[in-house]
């Protein structure tokens, strides 16, 4: 079990009275990429929020390298080694591009593989725009900033929530082109995608969610389009 980085057991999550996750189980192994797919409102982002500590979860439900982290707050989870590219990018409008990237290393620099220079190397276009406000960039460039920002803490686990949302196919291709290097740096990755084709391309393993539950999982090659469709909508087309 030593190569298990992140393990989730029977995770539940609530927004007030409203239960959004019903007992999710999931295991991520070192150096792997895992994709989570599902329809709108399936609970994918909620799962990400629970992992990163934005939403409270039971202490033992989430373990990172055998350490229970369910009860930790968001900053503590980051320091433990999980960072996230949040849904909708969420750059800080008052910060420049460079500051947005630098703030990723505010309280953790991990093994130091990713530095400002390394990020500029990965996404050269950002270097030209580094003094612009983060929000003045195109959607794709903003997404690069968000990824760079998350990498700056050199996490063990990188969570990406719908990073292709609203981006043109060519840009999506550019962004996903960075993934091999990210995995090379030692980070394991979880990507959340609605774009099934994209998800199947990058991941070693796919989980499908519906209404707060995992309804299907397996290696991309083993999953038929129909099975995915069923898991997605709960009905056969």
């Amino acid at each position: 079990m030593t190569d298990t980085v992140l393990s989730i057991r029977n995770l539940t999550a609530f927004y007030g009275d409203f239960q959004a996750l019903f007992g999710v189980d999931l295991t991520l192994r070192r150096g792997r990429a895992l994709a989570i797919i599902g329809a709108n409102g399936a609970g994918k982002s909620t799962l990400m929020r629970a992992i990163t500590g934005i939403l409270p979860s039971p202490a033992e439900a989430i373990t990172l390298k055998d350490r229970p982290i369910g009860a930790l707050s968001a900053p503590e989870v980051l320091e433990a080694g999980i960072s996230m590219v949040p849904e909708g990018r969420r750059l800080f409008p008052s910060l420049t591009v460079e500051e947005n990237i630098l703030i990723g290393a505010h309280s953790r620099i991990g093994n130091g593989y990713w530095t400002l220079e390394a990020i500029y190397d990965l996404f050269p276009v950002l270097k030209e725009r580094r003094h612009n406000p983060g929000t003045a960039l195109s959607g794709g460039q903003q997404q690069m900033v968000a990824i760079g920002r998350a990498l700056m803490s050199n996490p063990d686990v990188l969570l990406c929530d719908e990073i292709s949302l609203g981006l043109a196919p060519v840009i999506i291709r550019d962004i996903y082109a960075a993934f091999p290097r990210i995995r090379e740096s030692g980070a394991s990755v979880i990507v959340v995608e609605q774009d099934i084709g994209q998800a199947l391309k990058v991941a070693d393993h796919v989980f499908c969610m519906m209404e707060g539950r995992i309804t299907l999982s397996g290696a991309p090659g083993d999953l038929s389009r129909d099975a995915i469709h069923d898991a997605y909508f709960g009905v056969s087309a």
Binding site: N40, L137, S138, G166, V235, A237
Partner: protein, 239 residues
């Protein structure tokens, strides 16, 4: 004469163009479906029509009047009802009260008549059993039904539905289609954004495809669905 007319309506958020000179018309009593990839600007289009956000350019006409600069309240009064993609119930009010607000203010109904109307809608949308429950505690499915019911309670001439069929079982989906069909049959015009295509195509008469804020095409559902372009950009299937 058309009920709703959009005339080269544009909207950007900073550098991001989410509506790019969109023009189309909806006839009274017509049902129009909208599809498009995530982030294409579908919900934004609804916000423009309802007045929750103001366009940067273009005109919106409803029922013969220019409503481009009108606030949402007066558009509701004129007959535009909507549901939100992410349900936004008045969470401290009961389900019944949620509808009552809409009937009182948006529909202009009062007294026992308003209450009776709300009860009727609750029955039709399958929420009769939870009428007195606090809406904050509803399940996702019930919240989506509440969105539909609340929009109906404003007695709209045009009702805007944003992804209300996502995540339903086959039976639930069938019931929903039945409700929407009945609304349609009463002469209410419908614009429906939906990813569950079979549900959508069983109701709408025309289908519109949106991509990067631009209207890609509009027409017969079957014809639209058959287009290879749609297959590629929307379904993500290489053809």
């Amino acid at each position: 004469m058309s009920l709703l007319t959009l005339d080269r309506v544009s909207k950007s958020f900073g550098a991001l163009k989410v509506a790019d000179a969109v023009s189309f018309e909806v006839a009274p009593g017509e049902a129009l479906g909208i599809i498009g990839p995530n982030g294409a600007g579908k919900s934004t289009l609804f916000n423009l029509i309802t007045g929750n956000i103001a366009p940067n350019a273009g005109r919106i006409l409803f029922d013969g009047a220019d409503v481009t600069r009108k606030p949402p309240m007066s558009r509701v009064a004129a007959g535009i009802g909507r549901s939100f993609q992410i349900p936004q119930p008045f969470s401290h009010l009961s389900v019944f009260e949620n509808l009552l607000v809409a009937a009182n203010f948006g529909g202009g109904h009062h007294g026992p008549h308003a209450a009776a109307l709300c009860m009727d809608i609750l029955e039709r949308t399958g929420l009769g059993g939870v009428a007195d429950a606090t809406s904050g505690g509803l399940s996702l499915l019930q919240r989506k039904r509440l969105e539909l019911a609340r929009a109906m309670a404003t007695s709209p001439k045009l009702i805007l539905l944003d992804e209300i069929a996502g995540g339903l079982t086959e039976a639930e989906c069938g019931a929903l289609i039945e409700t929407i069909t009945s609304i349609h049959a009463e002469g209410t015009a419908i614009i429906w954004i939906e990813h569950v295509l079979h549900a959508l195509t069983s109701v709408v008469e025309r289908l519109m495809v949106l991509n990067f804020g631009k209207m890609l095409m509009i027409g017969e559902p079957d014809a639209v669905m058959a287009s290879p372009e749609v297959k590629e950009i929307y379904l993500g299937i290489d053809v």
